[in-house]
């Protein structure tokens, strides 16, 4: 039996005092180790859904059950703790911290976790950078890396704490086709090796084709 890692129940979200209806009754079960793509045009609610699943935004109605716990009952600090321990994020623009090296960027999420000594942090960060194919580039600053390499660092940063799920918002949108494919391949490989679920938004057909589960969003509703 496959357990659901996330259950989305009747999710509604409006913006601009109700003028923009971002989500209109989303119901979705996401099993462990999923490789799920949220597809849809701009403004279809993909990013909003990812933000709410990640506890960055609050729905107007409905709830998220994350590993049997409802996010509805969590305060800001509990949500922050959940993110620090169980959820990884990957962003379209990579969002690496430019003043620290690739290795330090990957170490960053571990520094706020208890029980991680300096050496353990360093070892874990080096190991994951090796896994994403960036061995030897640990001491480079983000500006010294290509777009694809930066996104690999971002993937390593999201994976380093062994989260249950990684939420990736348009992870290939800022990359050329070939590099984008490589990034998706890497994400899938990491899912296979580490068992981390990946939920990513995209409007790129080639990326959609590689997803194991494809969820189409149109005007805040699931179409298929």
């Amino acid at each position: 039996m496959v357990n659901n890692i996330i259950e989305v129940k009747g999710l509604y979200k409006d913006y601009s005092q109700g003028r923009v209806k971002a989500l209109r009754g989303i119901n979705l079960d996401i099993p462990e180790k999923s490789f799920l793509a949220l597809a849809g045009p701009s403004g279809s609610g993909k990013t909003t859904l990812l933000n709410i699943i990640g506890g960055l935004d609050i729905p107007d109605k409905g709830e998220i059950i994350f590993e049997t716990r409802s996010l509805k009952n969590m305060d800001e600090l509990a949500l922050t703790k959940l993110r620090s321990e169980r959820i990884g994020f990957i962003f379209q623009q990579f969002n690496l911290i430019p003043v620290i090296t690739a290795l330090e960027n990957v170490e960053l999420p571990l520094e706020i976790l208890p029980d991680y000594s300096k050496q353990r942090r360093r070892d874990a960060a080096k190991d994951i950078l090796k896994r994403v194919g960036l061995e030897g580039m640990e001491n480079r600053f983000p500006t010294q890396l290509s777009g694809g390499q930066q996104q690999r660092v971002a993937i390593a940063r999201a994976l380093v704490k062994n989260p249950a799920v990684i939420l990736a918002d348009e992870p290939t949108a800022n990359l050329d086709g070939e590099t984008g494919n490589k990034v998706v391949d890497l994400m899938k490989k990491m899912r296979d090796e580490l068992g981390t679920a990946f939920i990513f938004s995209t409007h790129d057909q080639r990326v959609m084709d590689r997803a194991e589960v494809l969820v189409h969003l149109v005007d805040g509703r699931i179409q298929s």
Binding site: G54, L56, N95, I97, V99, I100, E111, I112
Partner: protein, 408 residues
Amino acid sequence: MTLLRLSLRNLTRHKRRTIFTSLTLCIGLSMLIVSMGFLDGADRQSFDNLIYYQTAHGKAMMEGAFEDEFVSLDYAFQDADKIVENVRIQSGILAATARLRSNGMLISGTQEIPVIVEGIDLEFDSGVFKTLDAIVAGETLEPGTSGALMGEMLARDMEMQPGDIFTLLVRSAPGALNPIQLKLDGIVATGNPAIDRMNVFLPLHLAREMFILPDGATEIAYKVNNEKKVPEITEQLQDELPALNWYTWRELSADFIGFADLKRIGSGIMLSIFVIMAAVGIGNTMIMAIHERAREIGTLRALGFTPSSINKLFLLEGAYIGIIGGFIAVILGSIVVLLFQKYGMSLEQYGDMDIGYPIRDRLYAFWTLKSVLGAFIFGILLSLIASYGAARRAARGQVVRALREGML
């Protein structure tokens, strides 16, 4: 550790901006340090002057004499020499001397001016005061002669030179007016306008004759061997010789010290405005930083950094700017203060103008760790306060908006 490192690295993003902001603070703090150095120097010189020429380490007087604004023989006492001898044998006392002070009228040619007549014991006075070392023209007083010394400003006002003859008119203790003709032996410049403008010094025996107070005095002044023990020794003298009231130099100078403290506070407030303006610059820099880095702040929050960590991150950046600016200011300010401590600043341009301190010729700054450290800590605290608004805004910003729009 992460926050410390990250905030330090963040300062390197816009090096010019960091340097400019730190320098602004540095200039304000340097001015504060230099001004405090001059105030400390002025205090030190003034306190030395008061001790050397006016209050000694302490004085004994009749009850009511210190509180009375007017110099009067009503507060004279007898057996002064015996009391001085008694004081000299007390532990901790280095020297003691008697002085006899009262009012008088100085008459020279057609000019006359009210003065303070002060009889000084030529044998013992130099052990306690430096009045006899402050002669700038003429010569010192000789025992048994009818010579006098007078303050530099008084001599100038009366157009008198050493060797001139003048008349001193005083009222003796029994109440009779008593004129005496004296030769001006020398002119003293103590730097204390109260003395240099008003005082005529005579040998004690002559003053006692004029005031008809054999073995009389209006005060006993003493010098101790350890300045820190002045209050303790004064208390001991009060117990041993209770017929007189004994005061420490700080008690005798309470008005001046209070005034100096007020001036220090006033100057501190004035100069703090410069530092506060610099701190506003830091606040602006931090606001610019949070707007530029909104997306990063959102990312850190998404990674699990708490709002208080974000707050600390920006406060640390502000503190670093304060530390950099403060550190440079400590070095620059200290160099300037130490230079003025060695060479001083000429006061010639002020002439006879009362600058509010008993100081003449040159004003010397004085370096104190307290003032320098105080300015340094003040700079850091102000930087923290200036950064607080921006840091709070960064911590409270909406994560989703920061990530999506790059705005807080």
